[in-house]
Amino acid sequence: MTPDWTNALGLEARFEVARGTFVLDVAIRAEPSETVVLVGPNGAGKSTVLRVLAGLERVDRGSVLMGGDTLDGGIGGLFVPAEHRRFGVLPQGLALFPHLTALENVAYGPRSRWPGTRDPREEALDALVRVGLDADIAGRKPGALSGGQAQRVALARALAGAPRALLLDEPLSAVDASTRSALVPELSSWLAAFPGPRILVTHDASDALRFADRIVALEGGRVVQTGTRDELARAPRSRYVADLLGLNVFEGEANGSTVSVGSAALTVAGEADGPVTVTVHPRAVALFRARPEGSPRNALELEVATVEPGASRVRVALTGALDLVAEVTPRAVEDLGLVPGQHVWAAVKATEIRVEPL
């Protein structure tokens, strides 16, 4: 395959789409070589955004641009339909052609885009091998493929035919857990090798964090926050975003520099009054065997509920006056001998607690 990827261009959209009472009002941008992950709960409108970008639906107002050229100018404006956008789309549920072999599925794009100019089967076979499939599955129909194989064929199909941008809708939803863990690093490298803009839709937090250069959080048809993982973690603008990033979020009542959350009272750095949301990063929670002395203003005796090892940190869920998650090093878990049921002291500095009026 000789992709004409030399002039990778950015994809940019800012639009409104109304579907009955549901209004989608979105601004999203992906630069060349950038992976933007569109994340949000079910029904947030993520798939519709992808369909609009793909040219399967028109915007009511606003525009979709590729490298500054208009693809969709809204009602009465210019519209380039899906078949002329040359985007690599991986639809939700894969949507492979059930009546065609794996090879013909992948060859479909080149055949449609350049009819009669060249035999796309060699290119299709290359694409299948490139996504880690054996050449001998090329003759099988989708019904005879495993979930993981079907996923790879769908990806090969999206990548074949020199797409200018990649649009992937829940690319790992159709596989079981073990296949998924094998596919994640591979998908990561395929994305990295694609020089155009990449937009990926998911409702899975770990996918979002794993693949994203930038995250766009969509809730109820609106973008609630856009930024890198760190930017979002520093100031999450909604409970969904905080949960996504694994942050502790509580609702409480502020009275000066004290916030009462349930039966616990937290000392915070600023001053506030009335109902507030309180956010605590799990890494800001330190654990001790005995009541800590010194600077931490907040110390609570809690019970260990679960201990969940992650890649480099261990997530410790605590329960008691406050349900708090702490992220500590494996070393700390060992030193403290943390097991479920054990009592520990959790300490959080006042300056590490973020308070936002509700």
Binding site: A95, L96, K141
Partner: protein
């Protein structure tokens, strides 16, 4: 997977009566058949002419219904609108219309003195009534609804996501229809074609009204049965047996689609990833 459940007695008796009621005419036909001379009669010249005419015209009618009906079905399947509802009623009408009425209506539209009769005569150099082409027109008129309704159901059943995927891969609407929609709806279209053909084969009322019963030109098998009934009842029975055999063969070919429980195996569609 042989699952047997006992049938309640109040259901069993009417069920038996229904089965016997449907079987009785066939049994009567079989018992009264002059078996010794059936082959001879079934190969007599007038009968062969009627059979040939029936096969030719019903095949043409089915083909015509397919070529015109599938695009109409595609339009009906492509969305929802008041116009589509109106057209669907129009399509369904010949199904409930008595075929004789359909024949009269056809005469008023395409007959010599009909609405379009003059233009047709100019175009083809002859009028439609009392011609073989007239038979095809009458049969197509009654067969088309079967094809359109079956095709619409089949086309609507094709996964929209798969068709959308084809569009994102650079296929325009015509290519999507040819390479994705049509192949995936093939079982339904095939069944529709076969039913339309069978309906055309059995057509009587509209044909005799619109095209008459001229031996060799418009006297199809059902018309020949009717014509023979008074003068040569044995010939009528032989002809009827031929029709029964052909109809049974069609149903046998359709068994997977229509009677999935009867063969003990599932009507396995081509495997699809959904």
């Amino acid at each position: 997977m042989d699952v047997r459940r006992p049938l309640a007695l109040p259901l069993l008796v009417p069920a038996l009566v229904a089965a016997l009621f449907l079987a009785a005419p066939l049994v009567g036909l079989a018992l009264r058949a002059p078996w010794s001379t059936v082959l001879e009669r079934a190969t007599s010249d007038p009968l062969l002419a009627a059979l040939r005419l029936s096969l030719v015209t019903s095949t043409w009618s089915a083909a015509l219904a397919f070529v015109l009906g599938v695009p109409l079905a595609a339009w009906l399947a492509s969305g929802r609108s008041p116009a589509r509802t109106l057209v669907r009623i129009l399509v369904t009408l010949p199904l409930v219309l008595p075929p004789v009425v359909a024949g009269v209506a056809l005469l008023l539209a395409f007959g010599r003195a009909g609405l379009l009769g003059g233009s047709i005569e100019l175009l083809f150099g002859a009028a439609l009534p009392f011609t073989t082409l007239g038979v095809v027109v009458a049969q197509t008129y009654v067969a088309l609804p079967f094809l359109v309704l079956a095709a619409e159901t089949g086309l609507r059943g094709v996964d929209r996501n798969v068709q959308d995927a084809a569009r994102t891969l650079g296929a325009g609407p015509w290519r999507v229809f040819r390479t994705v929609t049509l192949p995936l709806a093939r079982p339904a279209l095939g069944a529709g074609l076969l039913v339309a053909w069978a309906r055309a084969l059995g057509e009587f009322g509209a044909t005799i009204t619109f095209a008459g019963s001229l031996e060799g030109t418009t006297r199809t098998l059902p018309l020949a049965v009717y014509a023979a009934l008074e003068r040569e009842p044995d010939a009528a029975i032989a002809l009827s047996l031929v029709l029964v055999a052909v109809s049974a063969l069609v149903l046998f070919l359709l068994r997977r689609r229509w009677f999935p429980g009867s063969t003990g195996q599932d009507a396995a569609p081509e495997g699809g990833a959904r």
